[in-house]
Symmetry: C2
Subunit: 185 residues, 2 copies
Amino acid sequence: MDDKQERWLEAELLVADAVGDVIEHWGFRKALGRVWSVLYLSDESLAAAELAERLQMSAGSVSTTLTELQRWSVVHRVFRAGERREYYEAETDFWKMISKVVSERERFVTRSVRERLARASQLLVGARDAGSRARIERIARLQSFADVAERVIDTFVRSGRADFGSFSDLLTLPRALMNRARRSD
Amino acid sequence: MDDKQERWLEAELLVADAVGDVIEHWGFRKALGRVWSVLYLSDESLAAAELAERLQMSAGSVSTTLTELQRWSVVHRVFRAGERREYYEAETDFWKMISKVVSERERFVTRSVRERLARASQLLVGARDAGSRARIERIARLQSFADVAERVIDTFVRSGRADFGSFSDLLTLPRALMNRARRSD
DNA sequence: CCGAAGTTTCAATTATTTCTGAACGAATTG
DNA sequence: CAATTCGTTCAGAAATAATTGAAACTTCGG
């Protein structure tokens, strides 16, 4: 029945857009979620052209999106004997997806931020007055925060478990160093 | 010494931009991280004008940014007796910040996505052929994924601990329902 | 080798996000 | 109550990001 087909296409889009919105909320392009969804919902692997058709995207955009999804190990290319085109299927191990994404984001913190904090700290060495000491201390806090964050995320990626308990007071300065007006709300 | 002051300004910007980049990587505006940093590094609470000055932002943009930071409970307004202007200070309990953000993002999944998945599922009820059944099953998987995700995130927000072990095979379909070409890479 | 089919790349366009600056409003003071 | 100081808002400007469409490439069969 044709009615059935039509309903299915509507349902597919509904799901694709929902997933697209979720991952957009987590900082990715909506298209990534939409393409993954169609692949996930499909019985069999699909070629780029079919994705473009179903999601009303251009060939270029589908290509870009598939490349990115593969970079995140969230979609895989599959080989079909005798077929010229390339087919794709969705990764279904969600843990793989999460851990890949998280560790990727972690790498950024590690590499780039660390050295900038260190450089900032360098700029202040030798200063002896109270103000400077307090500033040095605060930068040091951010650095140890980066350390802890890296450890926690690392453990998370490895084991699937995370404990953020140690984060609470990492940034809070000892009373002695504080000199603030009282909070109003 | 003026040299000291200059170095400090440079260090401050270095830190602010580093933090800005991090939080940008996690899906927020860079300005949020920059403003939070300057507040965190400061001895005392600061007024909007000082933030604008130090970060070279317009008054409007500082105002918007501070409002958003407060919405996330990441910056607080403080009252200074006898002063007309409003002053701000950084929240230093990082756990508060994380949990607020995560629970906010969770809310989105809960509200909007659930009903769309349900609607998609509705569209397919009654279909008896194998293809339709498989599709219904896959949508059901996404739904239970949403359930589990919500539980895990909820626990995380409450306890600071998360265990993603249960995620691995949630989306994977039973062999019987699969009909795919073999993976090529 | 040629041509067809499929894919990637990229400059140009379009859409979206963010920021600015000026106007408005509220609060405070002389 | 006029003048001043802050803060917010918002229309338009500027900056970024995503998408298209077409050209360039790649692969493969003949």
